[in-house]
Structures are given as structure tokens and as C-alpha cells.
């Protein structure tokens, strides 16, 4: 089965092209093709994972281009990390594919949606099994394109187009850094392949400063893709896309790709403590920072978006403190429970046609299935034992406590905020009194095609934490690493989430403290949070306006200096061509017409030969034969 791993990305890729070209002719406009391809890819992934657990490894490559001594290979490799990611990605993608049948029903660009969804999944799967940086980068960019298309799916609204542009351009900033990093590694190491790069690093071929610079440059890519501070601004806006697509982009694929890249290239980071320090602080800061913004968001998807940024910060911080296994573990559990939360929010939005939580409330009675799975997902996000998020977050905190206490306390603070905002979102959406009577009355579950994926993901979000100990012996960097239980860490983690949940309930359920009072007390902070720390505004003024100003200056220069040169060149060109024209008419045309005329006259003469008398032909034939004979006789 493991030999067929290359089929896993190829199947969705083929499906994407098939849907794009012939989707409109098939029943369901191609959704069945997409779901079928994903199902097979999922089964293959499970087979590959089982083989990998049995100890199998597989690597294979085709020669793609040869340039002198340089041979570029198109290769894939399957190791435990890749195998786990394959299963996670295919599961979530399959669920999203199925869920979308209900959610996107009747959409005008249904076919396009499915084609892009499949292409997106194919890119992520290709990225996961790539064995070299170059192809990883290719798939990485392909994913950027797909995210652009998905975020801009409802492009009739200008805001969505802006969101798509923002996502594309912001991640592009990260990609430039990443590309420079890749090229630096290539220049220094002469290869793109991970295993060869790791070998070069192990035998000390790299100068440590070069490696440090390359690692930090490479890390800029994940900062963009995984929406870490300061390139996180695109992710909340990316909620403009269809909600199931958000689930795919922000749970299992695109944002996970950044974390995956750091894990995949961990050999580059491990020898450079400074790089790891940067990674750890970027992650920890992002975790806390995004969690504070999530506190005040009113849009249910925005809350999830900032929550995603925060959780990605957890993973990045975990990688920074050396908790490789914990990071991958959290990546997996997060993929499940965040996909669940996104799809559940999709179900809610589908039911009430609004994203503002202040217009929801009391929906638990109307949407029992969605409500229950949401509770599971929220519990996992908060880290309530024994749900999956608890185990992975606990492991991250444990490693952080042992290696880097400052990071630990930052993450604990973020965890407390996570508990608060999650409880807030849950309460506002599903409990309390309905605040929008009309929406409440019309709310209903979205049918089995939507509830079944939710239930499956709910089960996964609940139980996937129990694989912690097998995973630790399976996916690791260097030596297997078993974190032992630490009562202190457990105590702190439990205390903060109980605190966060309790505070949220106190405010929103029991109204012990008035929300208005809190806002009045903390008004400056509240405004800053509402404005998302003004980062978007700063970017708007500095980069967007700056760019426009620069463009105006360039335009002036263009109009007054470049145009002058261009016009002068054009004038000279015209004069020259006038002379050329006369030459053309007189001489060249004369020759051309002369040749044509010669043929006309010549053929008029020559066609006299075609008399139609068979005997003449025979005669000529025979005279030719005679001439040949005569030459032979005389010559011989």
C-alpha cells in the first residue's frame, strides 16, 4: 500500500481537473467525483499509515530536470510525520467535501467550488509527501492560489475580493522570505532534499550563521501561511469564503502547512538555538495576542479565526521549545476539533443566515446535533479532559515548562483567554434567550449530509487525544520523547481553564458583572482589541497608501520622462519605417510579384505538356528509358 502513496495527491488532482472540465455533465456537478476521489485517497492514506506503523518507509523520485551537475528530482517520501498528516488531511477534506454538498447546495459556482476544493486538497497532500523543498514550495504556492480562489468565491462583493487579495498578498510576503531561505540553503548545501540537507547539517557542512539566517528566512514562510504575528492579518478576513472552505483552509490544510514545514525541516532549526528562540517567541506571542482579540469579536467565524491563529501559535511555540511530537499532536487534534467547530459554525450560519453572535442565542434546542458537536469541539479547544485538545495542549505546556518557563506562562495566559472566549462564543450562540426571533424560528438542522460529517468529526475530536502515547513513539525528532505527568502543570492548566470558563459564565450567563460596566472600565483596551491592535490600519496606511503614493510618483515619472524617451524612439522608428516602406513597395513587392508572375506564365507554357494523349506519355516514358540505356551503354 505504501508504494501507492503517490496516488494520494494525484487522485484529488485528477478529480479537480475532471470536475473543472466535465463537472457540469455529471450528476451533482462533480461533487460525487470529488468525494469519491477523496474517499479513495483516504483509504489509501489509512493503508499507508498502517504500513508505516509496521515500520515501512518509502521514497521514490523521478528526474525532473538536469542542469549541468544539478539534478532536480520530483520525489516523494513517506515517513511517520507524512503518514499522520496524510490521514488527517484526507479525513478533514473528505468531511468538508461531504458537508459542502449540503452547505453549498444551489450555489452558482458549485462546480468551480468543488474543483478548487479538490485541487486545494491535492496541493496539501502533495506538499505533505514532497521530499524536497522545491516541490514543497510549488505545492505551497498552488495552495496559495487555491485559497485565493476559495476566499474570493463570492466575488460579487467587493469586500470578499479585497479579502482574497489580502490573503494572497500577505502570504506572498512570507513566501518571498521562504524562497530566499530555500535558495540560500541550496546555494550552501547544493540540494533541495530534506534528507540530504539533514545529512549535510549533521556532518557540519553548513556554517552556523548561514544556517541560522536560512532557518529564520525559511520560517517567514510559515509565519505567512500559518498566520503568525505580524502576518496574521489575512486569516480573519479570509472568513469571507464559504464556511466549509474555511474549515479546510484554517484547520487541516493551508495553515497547517506552515507548521508542517517547520516540523519537516526541523533538522534546520534544531542546531540553531537562536532560530528556535525566535520561533518560540513568535508562536507564544501570537497565541496570546490572537486570543485577546478573540475576546471581543462578534462574528462567530472571526472568533474561530483568531482562535485558529492562537492555536497555531501554540504549535509554533511548541516547535520552538523543542516539543516536536507535541506540536504534531496538537496539529492533528486541532485539525479535527477546529474543522468540527468551523463546520458546526457553518451549520449554524446555514440555519440562521447571520454570522453575528449577538443575533443568535438559544440555538441548542433548535440544532441539537450541531450543539452537541460544538460542545465537544469547544471542550477540546478549551482543553477539558478527556477531550483531544486537553492531551495535546497538556503536552505542549509540559514541554514548555521543562524547557522555557517564560513561554510556559505566556501560553498559560493564552489558554485562560481561550477558555474565556470559547465559553463566551458557545453561550452566546447556543444558550440564553433567542435575540433574533425571526432567525430563531426558521433555524433547522441542515440534513444528514451536513450532520453526519459533524458527528464523525465530533467523535474524532473527542477521542483522538488517546493516541498520545503511541504517537510519541511514532512521530519524533531525534529520540522518542515521553513527557511524564507533572501535577504542577496539570494543576495550572486546569485552574486557568476553570477560571476562564467560570468568568465567562459569570458574565454572560449569570450577569454577575454587567458587560457595559466592563467595557466602560477597560474602554481603551476594548477599543484597541476591537480595532485589532490597529495592525490592519497600520498596514493600510503604511503599505497600501504608501504603495499608492509610490505608484503616483512612478506614474508622474513614467508620464514625463519615460514617455518622452518612448515617443522619441517611436518617431525615429516611424521615419525609418517610411523609408523601409518605399523599399518594400518598389523592390521587395516587385520581386515577389515577379516570382508569382513567372510561375503563372511558366505553368501556362508547361501545362501544354499535359495533352491527355496516353500514347504521348508512353512515348516520353520510353524515350527516357532509352536515354538511360544509351548512357549506360556509352558510359559502360
Amino acid at each position: 500500500m505504501i508504494q501507492l502513496a503517490w496516488l494520494i495527491p494525484v487522485l484529488p488532482l485528477a478529480a479537480a481537473f475532471f470536475i473543472a472540465l466535465f463537472g457540469h455533465r455529471t450528476t451533482g456537478k462533480g461533487d460525487r467525483v470529488g468525494i469519491g476521489a477523496m474517499s479513495i485517497a483516504f483509504l489509501l492514506s489509512v493503508g499507508v499509515l498502517l504500513d508505516t506503523m509496521g515500520g515501512a518507509r518509502w521514497a521514490q523520485h523521478l528526474t525532473w530536470a538536469i542542469h549541468g551537475d544539478l539534478v532536480l528530482n520530483l520525489g516523494f517520501q513517506v515517513d511517520p510525520l507524512a503518514a499522520v498528516m496524510l490521514v488527517v488531511v484526507t479525513v478533514v477534506s473528505l468531511m468538508v467535501h461531504i458537508f459542502s454538498v449540503g452547505y453549498m447546495h444551489g450555489d452558482v459556482r458549485y462546480k468551480r467550488y468543488y474543483a478548487v476544493l479538490s485541487l486545494f486538497t491535492a496541493s496539501m497532500l502533495g506538499l505533505v509527501i514532497s521530499d524536497n523543498l522545491l516541490f514543497l514550495f510549488v505545492f505551497w504556492e498552488l495552495m496559495g492560489l487555491c485559497s485565493y480562489l476559495l476566499i474570493g468565491h463570492y466575488f460579487e462583493e467587493r469586500a470578499n475580493v479585497h479579502a482574497a487579495n489580502k490573503a494572497f498578498l500577505t502570504t506572498r510576503v512570507g513566501d518571498v522570505g521562504m524562497f530566499v531561505g530555500i535558495m540560500l540553503l541550496f546555494a550552501a548545501g547544493g540540494t533541495f532534499r530534506f534528507d540530504e540537507l539533514a545529512a549535510r547539517i549533521a556532518d557540519g557542512s553548513f556554517a552556523l550563521p548561514v544556517l541560522a539566517v536560512a532557518a529564520i528566512l525559511l520560517f517567514i514562510g510559515p509565519v505567512g501561511k500559518s498566520a503568525q504575528f505580524p502576518l496574521h492579518v489575512w486569516l480573519p478576513d479570509a472568513m469571507a469564503g464559504p464556511t466549509p472552505a474555511s474549515a479546510l483552509i484554517h484547520a487541516a490544510t493551508m495553515v497547517a502547512a506552515g507548521v508542517y514545514l517547520v516540523a519537516r525541516g526541523y533538522a534546520l532549526f534544531a542546531p540553531v538555538p537562536q532560530a528556535l528562540e525566535v520561533v518560540a517567541w513568535v508562536g507564544a506571542f501570537t497565541a496570546l495576542f490572537a486570543a485577546t482579540i478573540a475576546l471581543v469579536m462578534e462574528d462567530i467565524k472571526k472568533v474561530l479565526a483568531y482562535s485558529t491563529i492562537s492555536q497555531l501559535g501554540f504549535m509554533v511555540a511548541a516547535l520552538g521549545v523543542g516539543a516536536y511530537t507535541a506540536a504534531v499532536f496538537h496539529l492533528m487534534t486541532h485539525a479535527f476539533f477546529k474543522a468540527l467547530l468551523f463546520l458546526a459554525s457553518g451549520s449554524v450560519i446555514h440555519a440562521v443566515h447571520t454570522q453575528n453572535m449577538h443575533q443568535m442565542g438559544g440555538l441548542f434546542k433548535k440544532l441539537p446535533v450541531t450543539g452537541w458537536v460544538w460542545l465537544i469541539g469547544a471542550g477540546a479547544l478549551i482543553g477539558i479532559p478527556p477531550l483531544s485538545g486537553f492531551w495535546s495542549k497538556e503536552e505542549i505546556l509540559l514541554d514548555a515548562w521543562h524547557h522555557h518557563p517564560a513561554i510556559f506562562w505566556t501560553l498559560v495566559a493564552a489558554a485562560a483567554l481561550t477558555a474565556f472566549y470559547t465559553t463566551r462564543a458557545t453561550y452566546l450562540t447556543f444558550f440564553g434567550t433567542p435575540r433574533d426571533k425571526h432567525a430563531y424560528d426558521h433555524a433547522h438542522e441542515g440534513g444528514r449530509v451536513m450532520t453526519y460529517p459533524l458527528m464523525i468529526l465530533g467523535v474524532l475530536a473527542a477521542v483522538s487525544g488517546f493516541v498520545a502515547s503511541p504517537l510519541a513513539g511514532f512521530v519524533y525528532f531525534g529520540e522518542p520523547h515521553h513527557a511524564s505527568f507533572d501535577p504542577f502543570v496539570f494543576g495550572v492548566a486546569t485552574a486557568v481553564w476553570v477560571l476562564g470558563v467560570g468568568l465567562a459564565l459569570a458574565i454572560y450567563k449569570y450577569n454577575l458583572v454587567s458587560r457595559r460596566a466592563i467595557i466602560q472600565v477597560f474602554y481603551p483596551i476594548w477599543v484597541v482589541l476591537k480595532r485589532r491592535y490597529y495592525i490592519d490600519d497600520v498596514y493600510q496606511y503604511v503599505f497600501v497608501r504608501g504603495m499608492i503614493g509610490l505608484a503616483l510618483v512612478s506614474a508622474w515619472f513614467d508620464r514625463h520622462v519615460i514617455d518622452l524617451i518612448v515617443n522619441a524612439v517611436g518617431w525615429i522608428g516611424r521615419k525609418v519605417s517610411e523609408y523601409v516602406d518605399e523599399f518594400d513597395r518598389g523592390v521587395v513587392d516587385g520581386i515577389v510579384n515577379g516570382i508569382g508572375g513567372a510561375f503563372v506564365v511558366g505553368s501556362r507554357v508547361l501545362r501544354q505538356v499535359q495533352t491527355g494523349f496516353v500514347q504521348s506519355y508512353m512515348l516520353v516514358l520510353f524515350l527516357g528509358l532509352l536515354a538511360g540505356l544509351a548512357i549506360l551503354v556509352i558510359g559502360g
Binding site: 500514347q615 512515348l619 520510353f622 524515350l623 532509352l626 540505356l629 544509351a630
Partner: protein
């Protein structure tokens, strides 16, 4: 000068005269009969050259089949002209036709025969071997071993020619009635 050689010279002389009549006989029917006669004489030449089997085949194929079919062709194509003189035989050649069908063919033919005979005279041919060989057995065994595939192809060719001739010659009554 042995008997075979005398026989050959006689047969050859008559064959040349007879072939000349094929070209010049005023009636086409007579030309066809002269042709048959020429074929018979060539068969005789084959015998003097020791090719008895080919002589038999010559009589069967040429005299028996080809001449007959040509006679049929003459009768079917120009029934009225069978007994009369071929009107095309005697004509005055004028203009281009004088060269095309008068002078040049004569020159070409004479030149050809002259060149060939000169060549034949110049080449030091091996002497005739004499003796007797069972050529029938030789041909038979070669035909069914070395040349078996051309032999079978020849059979196919004949079949195709048969079918083709029938398809071409069959009268399309419907078309004829419509006057096309």
C-alpha cells in the same frame, strides 16, 4: 547447326512476321488471330529453349485464355467493326501527330532494338550448356518452397483481378436507362 537451332530460327522468323501482322493487320479480328499465332510460336520457342512446362503454360494461358478473352472483348466492344476494316488503321498523320505517332515511335523502336542487339553482341555470354534437366520438377519444388508466398499472392492477385473485372464490366442497367 543442329536441329534445335534450325527449329528455333524458323520459329523465330515466323514469329517476327506474325507479330508484325499483329500491328499492321487491317482488321482487328485478324490482328487478334495473328496474336494467338504468335503466342503459339513463342510456345515453340520455349520448347527449343528447354522450358516444356512454360510452353504448356503459354499455350494454356495466352493462346487459350488471353486470345479468347481478347476476341470476346473485340466482339463486345465493336460488333460492327469485327468484319469490316479497322477504320482507325488507315489515316493521314498531320501536324503534331506526325511526330507524335509517326516519326518518334519509329525512331524510338529502331533505336531500342539497335541498342539492345549491340549490347547482346558485345557481352561475352557463357556457352549454352546443353544436356537435359528435369525443369518441371525444378520449378515445382521451387514454387512450393522458396517461392511459396509469391505463388499464393499470385493466386490472390488473380482473384482480385477477377472480382475487379466483374465489378467494372457488369452492366449498370439503371444508369443506362437514364441515359447517363
Amino acid at each position: 547447326m543442329d536441329a534445335t537451332r534450325i527449329a528455333f530460327i524458323v520459329l523465330a522468323a515466323v514469329a517476327v512476321v506474325s507479330a508484325f501482322r499483329v500491328v499492321t493487320a487491317p482488321k482487328i479480328m485478324h490482328a487478334a488471330l495473328w496474336l494467338g499465332f504468335t503466342f503459339m510460336l513463342v510456345a515453340g520457342v520455349f520448347v527449343t529453349l528447354g522450358a516444356e512446362f512454360l510452353a504448356a503454360a503459354q499455350v494454356l494461358v495466352y493462346v487459350g485464355a488471353v486470345t479468347t478473352i481478347i476476341l470476346f472483348g473485340i466482339m463486345l466492344s465493336q460488333a460492327a467493326e469485327v468484319r469490316s476494316r479497322d477504320p482507325l488503321q488507315r489515316e493521314r498523320l498531320e501536324g503534331a501527330a506526325f511526330w507524335r505517332r509517326g516519326v518518334l515511335p519509329v525512331l524510338a523502336t529502331v533505336a531500342f532494338v539497335a541498342i539492345m542487339v549491340t549490347v547482346y553482341m558485345r557481352v561475352p555470354w557463357p556457352a549454352p550448356p546443353g544436356g537435359v534437366i528435369d525443369t518441371v520438377r525444378l520449378i515445382g519444388s521451387a514454387l512450393f518452397t522458396t517461392y511459396v508466398i509469391p505463388f499464393e499472392l499470385a493466386a490472390v492477385l488473380l482473384l482480385i483481378a477477377l472480382v475487379g473485372a466483374i465489378v467494372l464490366a457488369v452492366r449498370d442497367d439503371n444508369k443506362e436507362e437514364q441515359g447517363s
